[in-house]
Symmetry: D2
Subunit: 387 residues, 4 copies
């Protein structure tokens, strides 16, 4: 059932089939049904280590073939784009190999578990770019329409000179006392805790929305519950990642930024909230109400000024041309269709999509500075390469 028999295709091979794999699949499945595309994505093959489970995933998610070795996936002729949805410790190896094999790459965030890995990925991406291959990191929240609109308003100068960025990303699943020592709580697998999982998103958004880099940070991290029952019931084990992180920083312009990420914010399910205050206006967003953007226009007379709730569902709002009439809201998963749309266009045009691997590396450097500051009694720590 091709969307178009006339446009060229783009074969996609995806690594991973858990939460992110399902979300990316929905993006690839839907993007050509909602948007006009210069190439038609084809869900060519999916890859996972367990044969039975990857076959079931291919069947359920709609991939034409299944592989159990990512090397086989990237070797397939019908795959032009490798979409990496596996855990962070595998990103560097797969991405570098895929680029070496001549494929375009989309890699889930965080780009890698370490700065060194990320640097290697950037080098590989830059080399590949010379061969016409593109690499993109999957900070999908940039493509929530309300946040894309926020970026547009900032770029138009509507908030004036930036003064403050204030961002939190709060969840509460860690507060469950019966939670076991899952892989996300082990440093050797997950790299970090709330910091890499949630902090990477708010760091990327803060830099993307403002168009500025974070130059230095001061940070506290904390692990509230130090031991958890082992999943196999054989006793307890140590939690080796952070449950929460607080960090403050400065942006290149001198604006101040404050951040908090936590898995212990009882009642907050997915509260990525970000606010920007500038000399002429302010913007505020909450992912739990993702179809809305609040905008304060400080150039209005004070007697009529107020934070307005823009319902970001109008035809001329970013990405809305593909969807429903005004007022019919989108959901979380639509960000993956938007990401796919922009990547397909970029590949067709041969232009670098944003965010690049270099953007992902910059986020990684901020995370590294946060960890360094937290270890050094919160002292302000410069972000490498951002000064």
């Amino acid at each position: 059932m091709p969307i178009s028999t006339t446009s060229p295709t783009l074969g996609v091979g995806m690594v991973g089939y858990a939460f992110m794999g399902a979300a990316h699949s929905q993006g690839w499945r839907t993007v050509g049904r909602a948007f006009d595309l210069p190439r038609t994505p084809v869900m060519a093959a999916i890859c996972g280590r367990d044969r039975a489970r990857v076959d079931a995933a291919a069947d359920r998610l709609g991939w034409a073939a299944a592989e159990t070795d990512w090397r086989a996936l990237i070797a397939r002729d019908d795959v032009q784009l490798v979409d990496i949805c596996s855990p962070g410790d595998s990103h560097a190896e797969i991405a570098i190999a895929a680029l070496a094999a001549g494929k375009h790459v989309l890699c889930e965030k965080p780009l890698a578990n370490t700065v060194a890995e990320a640097e290697a990925m950037v080098a590989a991406a830059e080399a590949a770019a010379g061969r016409g291959q593109l690499a993109m990191v999957g900070f999908n929240y940039r493509r929530v329409p309300a946040l894309a609109l926020a970026r547009r308003l900032v770029a138009e100068g509507r908030i004036g000179t930036l003064r403050h960025v204030r961002a939190v990303y709060l969840q509460d699943w860690g507060a469950d006392p019966e939670l076991k020592l899952v892989w996300r709580l082990r440093k050797e697998l997950a790299g970090s805790g709330a910091l890499g999982d949630l902090g990477a998103h708010v760091v990327d958004l803060a830099q993307h929305l403002t168009g500025e880099l974070i130059t230095g940070v001061s940070a506290h991290t904390e692990t509230f519950v130090k031991e958890r029952p082992l999943p196999d019931g054989s006793g307890v084990g140590e939690v080796t990642v952070d449950d929460a992180a607080l960090f403050t920083g400065r942006l290149a312009s001198g604006a101040l930024a404050s951040f908090e990420v936590s898995r212990f914010a009882t009642g907050r399910k997915n509260a990525l909230r970000i606010e920007l205050n500038g000399s002429d206006g302010s913007l505020a967003f909450d992912l739990e109400r993702l179809n809305e953007l609040e905008f304060y226009d400080g150039t209005e007379p004070a007697s009529r000024a107020g934070f307005r709730r823009i319902l970001v569902t109008e035809p001329d709002h970013p990405y809305l041309e593909g969807w429903w009439p005004a007022g019919h809201g989108l959901g979380y998963e639509h960000t993956f269709a938007h990401q796919a749309r922009d990547l397909v266009h970029a590949i067709d045009a041969g232009e670098q999509p944003a965010p690049s691997f270099a953007d992902g590396l910059q986020v990684q450097r901020v995370l590294a500075a946060i960890e360094e500051s937290a270890e050094k009694n919160a002292v302000h720590t410069p972000v490498h390469g951002a000064q």
Copy 2:
């Protein structure tokens, strides 16, 4: 790419490819990727009058074949379910023929443009039921998870004895002074204006959520702008449908209900809001924030009671087992996947899905009573068959 090679299939044929057609397509395309189903829906054929356009729609929306005559569509062997998304004046004829041809039927709301048509459809559905065929009307908002949760809380007795239902459905596209005399503003095509388009939804929801019928109504309707430019630029024509309707009524239990629907509520894009007040609690919902349900538990001590915002994204909320982790919101279109899920289960089980054609007829009778009351100076007018 079948979802499962072992489960039987269910061939779907759809009539219409505009807004509702695109939304239903997204439902059929997605449902088997998100939910476990006893039968695998197959998007067999789509039907539209214009060959080029229906071919393009099939291509874009992912249907395997395209027909230009609905009679051909319902005659296809690979179609077991006919999904009717064409305008209201075509519903009765197609649905009755499809049932006669031995197909299951899903028909968009409103069931028909007149009570007489709806009655004929109910008769056909009842006859077909004896042959094991099922018929359902597409009031998709029943399957917004927050509203499904509301229904569950009412059924559990959590709001006690019902006192009030208060519902509005407000949009604002009619307030555009440059709006032309489109088909939705002509009675011969659309049947009615805001009443059938928006009023049908709130009437159905009021009855569904409360589990009670509306027994009588008092109504005002209004056409604010009496003439509009003709689309072809040849002058102006008369607007022959209502722009807004206000109606109040009584439910079977003696509870009071108030309703307002309008296309002239400037700034309200898709504000379907419904509140229920009972002796023990209250519920409130707004479609512009469709992942939320407000619940007031009146059995709490007054000093700690308050309307709570339930983020309806938990794993044990209705329909959420198929989607994302807590806090990751859904959008408008998911209602169509939920509708498809329940219909596939019902067909497999041979059980009548809700809402039935009889439920659709009951809504039609309420709309007829509203029109009658509006013509008779708002006098309270009984709803036929609801006493």
Copy 3:
């Protein structure tokens, strides 16, 4: 402790010392401390039937003297203004006598329990006006700053041609199953139930904010709980007033209005909500958030338009010159200080303050039409004198 030894005084005599008496006292006590006034109000005397209780009230509320007969109060030389806060069945007699005695009069809403009483009061006020005496009815919510701002925005044309008014006033104390048969539930004392108590406010506001009269109504009323325990424990008695009323109507311009008032809206404590939709914009207000006004400016580009929350605490917002810096909210009782401010200015200038007794009579006529419609099966019933 006079506020000013140079400005003339205005002696106030108040009838009643319950909730409204305490609220008015706070207004008179505060007004000269917050605002510049041309005359200094003096809390000269308070009146109640029970000597011990009225003495205690004078002491508590800060009145210089206490009377047990309202005739004695209005005869006092140190009283130039009679402020009537007693129940509605006493308003006409006291107001007419006070006017005959040469006093200015402020009378709590509703103006009277019947249209006939209100007509007699208007006649007395008009005769007294020729002698330089002023009469005002106490619809205090007109002087919530957010609603005064709303009126200003409507008058400036910022919402364009009016299409809809939508107002509710919801409370929930009636839903308490142990509530006794208090005087407010007996028609012979209270005149009506939710209708006069809550409905009078929304009718006045709808007319005041729009600058239009309600020309006709269609109404349902209901008494959900028909019998209540007598306060003295001697058995049960019949509830003879409405618990709730729904009414719809038309304004002079052809705009539609919908209203609902209830004492059975569980969880809604004081939810007076009013929304106006016009061709160019909309306004929305909720008394539970009385420092806020929502404004939608439909002349903005759709991509940046949204309901803005104006925090009505800026120095140039109505009445705010007397209070605190921006952002420091006011409460319910401030409306009585604002009412007092405007009345003192009007008396000093010899100009009729709004709302007049005639405005109060007009509200009474709307309430009478509502009751008539409710008795006549909701048929649309013209409001006397409003066509």
Copy 4:
């Protein structure tokens, strides 16, 4: 007009008559009208340096006498309580002298401009306590009913083990480019900028609501606009205080705290927001909606849990026994009446009211640690005396 001729009086003498003087006056004027008090406050005398202006203030605000020397005020026999509303640099001298003169003292926040001054004040207060005199610092926001309720819920254990405190206090008047170099922007007069003005409040609330001390902090401060026009038009001068401060810290239990205060948060007028997350629940408050408290009860089943908006106007909510029926909101100024109520009761009972001068000193020490950390590159800095 004494409130009661039988209860003893409490003569109050107030220093200062600007914003805080007016607010405190409203508190003293009102408290005995709303609450039952064991002693009747008498507004005996007010003090300011300018004779004409203090006479006018006495007249306007309702004080019986006026002094131009605070030494004369505290020497008056009719003054038993000295209420200090003058700028922070005068607090120590006046408070210590008043205590030496045998008076009770209420001192506005911040207690002093330096830790050394605050320590001297605590010493004086402790000595005076032995003589039966009481001293209190005016952190009025503790007595917003919603925050008093929050404290009650924490003390009842309803949020369980504390994990996070998150507080901001955001205003925007500093963002006005035409703002002159007023005294609040000069360190020699104001001590600090947003930190002392706004930060003192959030530090006190964080410690009060949680019942824990802040043990250490990491801080950034910033002055965005370095020069401002002089008020006399003679050129520009340097801004010597902070415009904004960000600080993070740890509480005694190991919970994390994050704070931000700013005068450059465009559109935020008085946004003191504080959220507490515990193992069993969360609380959230916003001063711009001061009659509301949000409470998440994590012990509810997840499918029905949500942040509930408690309208803190019920009769059994803190301080509400003195005011209006449920749903009738209070304003900013009511906090001063509540403060007066509790202080009068404490004086009558001879019991130390909270917050004490020692509590004020503790806040001062946190502010000093913030300034020290900001100077030392944000390194985590212990709070003296809190370990």
